[in-house]
Structure formats: structure tokens, C-alpha cells
């Protein structure tokens, strides 16, 4: 097959990856930005989103679309509520001390993962996509008649994948509206700037933190629900999203939402593109080293401005 059509396919795959990654990474970034803590259990909330989605969809039965829509609403809410509970019962009592929080969220990671293993089991389960039309990808060539479109054999994507890209865009808009335009967003930004002052101005900081922690988890879960029809739900599936989100959040600049989105698209895309052409292991090695070196030499991220 030619290089050109292959590239289009890679870009589309990359966009799907990037879409889900932006949501997951935004969740992590939001939590770090507002609360100044790193949630190592973030990937597990992603996994929970997928597992809940499977449960909701199989419990609803009926047409795939209804199960899916129900899952898209219920799974993130459940994951978010669970995160709120974790925050209230554990992190709040640690005073959000950065180091102790990391250790505690490592503990949460294993508890969530292992409990899922014990209940949901070690197998992967699919969720049926609400719709899934095959869409052939057009390509063009030069013939004696000039420019001609044709559909190379075997090169196609699905309507569902396009939907994922679109849905993630909507969710990103939602977050942007929330942060930039709403009163809640104002409260979040105030808390982010200075928790103590915010408290002094009567903002219930503890509740804001719990909400943010829940929102972060819910965002990851939304990403997961979107991806289960393509990827299947499995109790270990949180690992890669966690790692990738870390990479994205660090490269985008810790706590910068805009940087996160840019980095997520870049990395999600290149991850998709690279894995079509290179071995994924090599790509991952380079990515992890990149993150380490960014933290060492450019802690404000690749896109952040140098701090004064």
C-alpha cells in the first residue's frame, strides 16, 4: 500500500487516541492544578469508567445505543462519586501533603485494581458501540484523466471512531466553558491561585477539592466509556492511560490546562502515528525519557513560559 493512505489512517487512529487522552489528562491536570497533588490512582478511575460502562450496558440490555448512552452518563458519575469518597475519607485527612498523598493514591490504585479483579474478573469484556458503520477512506491518484478519487482496499475507519473524536471535542468545550465562564470556574481558579486566601474569602476549599477530585476522575471515566467499544474493559487497562497522562501533563506544563490539551493532541497523535511505523516499545522508551528530561531541564513544561 502507498504511504499516503497509510498516513491518513494513522492520523485518524492518532486522533481517536488523542481525544481520549485529552480527557484523561485534563482530569489529572485539573486535580494537580487546583489541589497541587498527583493522583497516581487516576488510571484506575479510567478503568472503573470502562468497567462500570460494561456493567451498565449489560444490565440495561436492549438496543446497544441506549445501553451506551446510559453508560456514558452513569459510569462517570459513579467513578466521580467514588473519587469524592476517597478524597473525603483519605486525602482530606492527609492535609493534601504532596508526598503522603502520592503514597496514599498508590494504595488506592492497588485497592481499586485488585477489588475489580476480584469482582469483575481477569477477563476483558467488550461494550457494543451504539453504531458502527464502516467508512472507506478515499485517496486520490494521478491518472491520464488527471486527479481521481478512489477507495484503496482495506483502508477504512468507522463512524464510531469519528464520533469519539467529536464527543471528546464537545467534552473539552464543556470543561473550557466551566473553567472560563461559570462562577464555579471562578471559584476553582481562585482556589488554584491560593487556597488559603480562597478560604479566607469564604470558599469552602475542602468541598472544592473533593469536587475537583471527583471531576478529574469522572473525566477519565468519560474517556474510558468512549474507548470501551473499541478497546474492551479490563482490570489492568488503567496503566497506560496513567502513564500517558503523566507524560502529557508534564510536557504540557504542570497545572496548565491549555498546555495539557496541546500536549495530549500532540502525544496522542504521535503515539498513534509512531505505533503504525515503529515498535510501540521504542516509542514508549523515548516518551518516558522525554518526560524525565523535561522535568529535569524544563520543569515548566515544553509549552509553559519560564517562571519569573
Amino acid at each position: 500500500m502507498e504511504f499516503g493512505p497509510h498516513l491518513i489512517l494513522a492520523v485518524l487512529e492518532g486522533l481517536v487516541q488523542a481525544s481520549v487522552l485529552t480527557l484523561t489528562a485534563l482530569g489529572l491536570s485539573l486535580v494537580f492544578g487546583v489541589m497541587r497533588v498527583v493522583n497516581v490512582a487516576h488510571g484506575e478511575f479510567f478503568m472503573l469508567g470502562a468497567v462500570f460502562a460494561y456493567w451498565v450496558a449489560s444490565w440495561m440490555g436492549g438496543p446497544a445505543a441506549i445501553g451506551f448512552v446510559a453508560a456514558l452518563i452513569i459510569a462517570p458519575v459513579l467513578a466521580g462519586l467514588l473519587a469524592v469518597a476517597c478524597d473525603w475519607l483519605i486525602l482530606r485527612r492527609l492535609d493534601y501533603d504532596p508526598e503522603r498523598t502520592i503514597v496514599a493514591t498508590i494504595g488506592m490504585l492497588y485497592v481499586i485494581q485488585q477489588v475489580t479483579l476480584m469482582t469483575y474478573g481477569p477477563d476483558a469484556h467488550p461494550v457494543t458501540p451504539p453504531f458502527n458503520h464502516r467508512l472507506a477512506i478515499p485517496w486520490f491518484e494521478f491518472t491520464e484523466n488527471g486527479f481521481e478519487f478512489y477507495y484503496p482496499w482495506g483502508l477504512s475507519t468507522t463512524s464510531y471512531k469519528l464520533f469519539v473524536i467529536f464527543a471528546a471535542m464537545v467534552a473539552r468545550m464543556g470543561i473550557w466553558l466551566l473553567m472560563a465562564k461559570s462562577k464555579l470556574g471562578l471559584i476553582l481558579r481562585a482556589t488554584q491561585l491560593d487556597g488559603e486566601t480562597a478560604q479566607a474569602f469564604g470558599i469552602p476549599v475542602e468541598r472544592v477539592y473533593a469536587f475537583v477530585f471527583g471531576l478529574g476522575a469522572a473525566l477519565a471515566a468519560v474517556g474510558a466509556v468512549l474507548i470501551v467499544p473499541i478497546q474492551q474493559a479490563h482490570y489492568l487497562m488503567g496503566h497506560d492511560p496513567l502513564l500517558l497522562s503523566f507524560i502529557v501533563v508534564i510536557i504540557g506544563g504542570l497545572g496548565s490546562l491549555r498546555g495539557t490539551v496541546v500536549a495530549a493532541i500532540l502525544i496522542g497523535m504521535s503515539n498513534g502515528v509512531i505505533s503504525v511505523f515503529f515498535t510501540p516499545t521504542l516509542a514508549k522508551i523515548l516518551a518516558t525519557l522525554l518526560v524525565a528530561f523535561v522535568l529535569v531541564y524544563r520543569p515548566q513544561g515544553l509549552f509553559g513560559a519560564k517562571p519569573a
Partner: protein, 306 residues
């Protein structure tokens, strides 16, 4: 005194314990060397690493690959393993110590992940996930068969004793006190005239080297070398052992390893979700017992405990 007593008790136990616990204890001693190394950085210098598995595996693969690729006898291969870990910890230390706090944790995590992936990537040489076995007939030093349970026990004990005494010596030395000062208040230590950066680097290298010694010994004594030792959970284990046993205490890492090992052993009859216990213990420790077992013992009863 206490520490010599512990070593003596471990010598005695060799003759008393039934085979099952005897085998466990050999493993626990090797793992607590790993934890003791971790404790130098975390418990004394206050540096929380999330990537110690890389030093353990550097020792393990440094040893294992020397045997596998070049047929070097396990004795010298063990030394090569230790040097490999020392070299890696020096490089990682030089880079990672430019960061502090959460960034330091993530940098160590990422380097460790890169080591793990590198092992997978060079699958033809390292046999990746599957790992490889160090054949029983080559696991010998000076004619002693290290796969024999008694020799193995004593080999583990000797390594354990050396490391325990080394840590004890370190803690009582001037450098050890400076490490504690750095943990408590780095800026103040610097403004008392201490080169805190050099001390931290030394702590990382000692810590990584000891972890590497544990890794190399694990490979020699138990015969298996594998990429799973480089995975994230294996970096969390020493943190767990040290937190449980008591960070900044000399025998804490051993106590923590011992408890955790048997806790896991007990729970495995109930469930095969091994890491569940680890997770619960981590959460409970951060919530209710930051100083760990020996830390509490020191606070309540034995103020002098190093």
C-alpha cells in the same frame, strides 16, 4: 547490640525453622537488603524514589547477563551487578537530584519505567517478560552450591549482616547525621556549611548500590532473572516495607519486609489479589502510622534506637 543480637538470632533460626519458613526467611533477608538500601534515601535523606526497581534490576541483570552472555562465574558476575547498579544510580542521581519533591518522584518513576521498557525492547538478549534462569550448576561460589537451602540461607544472612552493619555505621557517622539534617531542613543544612547536593548524591548511590546488591543476590540465590522485577509494583514494595517497618530506623526495613511477607502469605489463602493487602496497608500507614512499627517503638520506648 540489638543489631548483633538480631544477626545472632537469624543464625540460630537457621537450625530451628522448618523448611518452609527457612526458605522464606532467606528471601526476606535479600528483600530487606533492598529495603535497607531504599531506607538510606527515603528514611535518612528524605528522598522519596518511585523507581528503585531499576537499581534492583540493574544488579540482577548486570549479574545475570554476565553469566548468560559471557559465562562469567557467579562470584565476579555478582560484583559486576553491583557495579552496574552503582553506575546507574550515579547517572540517575546526577539527573534526578536537579528536581525536588513530586518532580523527583516522577523522574525516578520514569527512569525506572524506561529501564523496564529497555529490557523488553532488547528481548533477544534479555528474554524480555519471560526472563531466564541461572542454571543450578553455575550457581556456585568457591565450590559452595548456592541453590542448597542451608548455603543459600547463610549467603543471604552474610549479605544482610554486611548491609545492616554498613547502615548502622553510616547512621552513626558524621555523613549520616548530615543526611538526617537534610531530611529535616535542607536549606538550614546548606547554611551550616554542608554540601547538601554531594551528600544527597552519595545517598542515592549508596541506596542504589545496595538495592543492586539485593537484585544480584536474588538472581544468584533463587536462580531467576526477569523483567517483572523492573515493573512499577516492584518499586512500590521497598517503599511499603520501609513505611511499615519505620523509615529512618536501621532495622525497620527488615521488620517491615518480614511483616509484609507474612501478611501477604496469609492473605494469599483468602484471595489471589496479592496487591490488595499492599494497597490497604499503604493507605492505613499514611493515615494512621507515619512512623511505622520501629518508629513507634522508638517514640514510645526506645529513644536511643538508631
Amino acid at each position: 547490640m540489638l543489631h548483633l543480637g538480631l544477626i545472632a538470632a537469624l543464625v540460630l533460626l537457621q537450625f530451628i525453622l522448618p523448611a518452609y519458613h527457612h526458605g522464606n526467611l532467606a528471601r526476606i533477608m535479600v528483600l530487606s537488603v533492598f529495603a535497607m538500601g531504599y531506607n538510606i534515601m527515603f528514611g535518612y535523606a528524605g528522598l522519596l524514589s518511585l523507581g528503585h526497581a531499576m537499581f534492583f534490576t540493574a544488579g540482577m541483570y548486570g549479574m545475570g547477563l554476565s553469566v548468560r552472555l559471557w559465562d562469567i562465574p557467579v562470584g565476579p558476575a555478582f560484583v559486576i551487578g553491583i557495579f552496574a547498579a552503582a553506575a546507574l544510580s550515579l547517572v540517575v542521581g546526577l539527573l534526578a537530584l536537579r528536581t525536588i519533591g513530586v518532580a523527583f518522584m516522577i523522574v525516578t518513576l520514569m527512569f525506572s519505567q524506561a529501564v523496564f521498557l529497555t529490557i523488553l525492547y532488547f528481548n533477544p538478549i534479555t528474554r524480555g517478560d519471560e526472563g531466564f534462569v541461572i542454571a543450578q550448576q553455575v550457581r556456585q561460589i568457591a565450590g559452595l552450591d548456592l541453590s542448597n537451602p542451608t548455603t543459600r540461607y547463610f549467603a543471604a544472612l552474610i549479605l544482610f549482616a554486611i548491609c545492616l552493619l554498613a547502615v548502622l555505621w553510616l547512621v552513626r557517622s558524621r555523613a549520616g547525621r548530615v543526611l538526617i539534617a537534610i531530611r529535616e531542613n535542607e536549606e538550614r543544612a546548606r547554611l551550616l556549611g554542608y554540601d547538601t547536593w554531594a551528600h544527597k548524591l552519595a545517598a542515592v548511590v549508596m541506596s542504589g548500590t545496595m538495592a543492586g546488591a539485593a537484585g544480584a543476590a536474588y538472581g544468584v540465590l533463587f536462580g531467576s532473572v526477569g523483567a517483572s522485577f523492573a515493573e512499577v509494583p516492584f518499586s512500590i514494595l521497598p517503599l511499603l516495607y520501609v513505611l511499615l517497618g519505620g523509615p529512618g530506623t536501621v532495622i525497620g526495613p527488615f521488620v517491615g519486609t518480614l511483616f509484609m511477607f507474612y501478611l501477604r502469605d496469609l492473605s494469599s489463602s483468602l484471595t489471589d489479589a496479592h496487591m490488595l493487602v499492599a494497597g490497604v496497608v499503604l493507605i492505613l500507614l499514611t493515615l494512621f502510622a507515619r512512623r511505622g512499627i520501629m518508629g513507634i517503638v522508638r517514640e514510645r520506648w526506645l529513644k536511643w534506637l538508631p
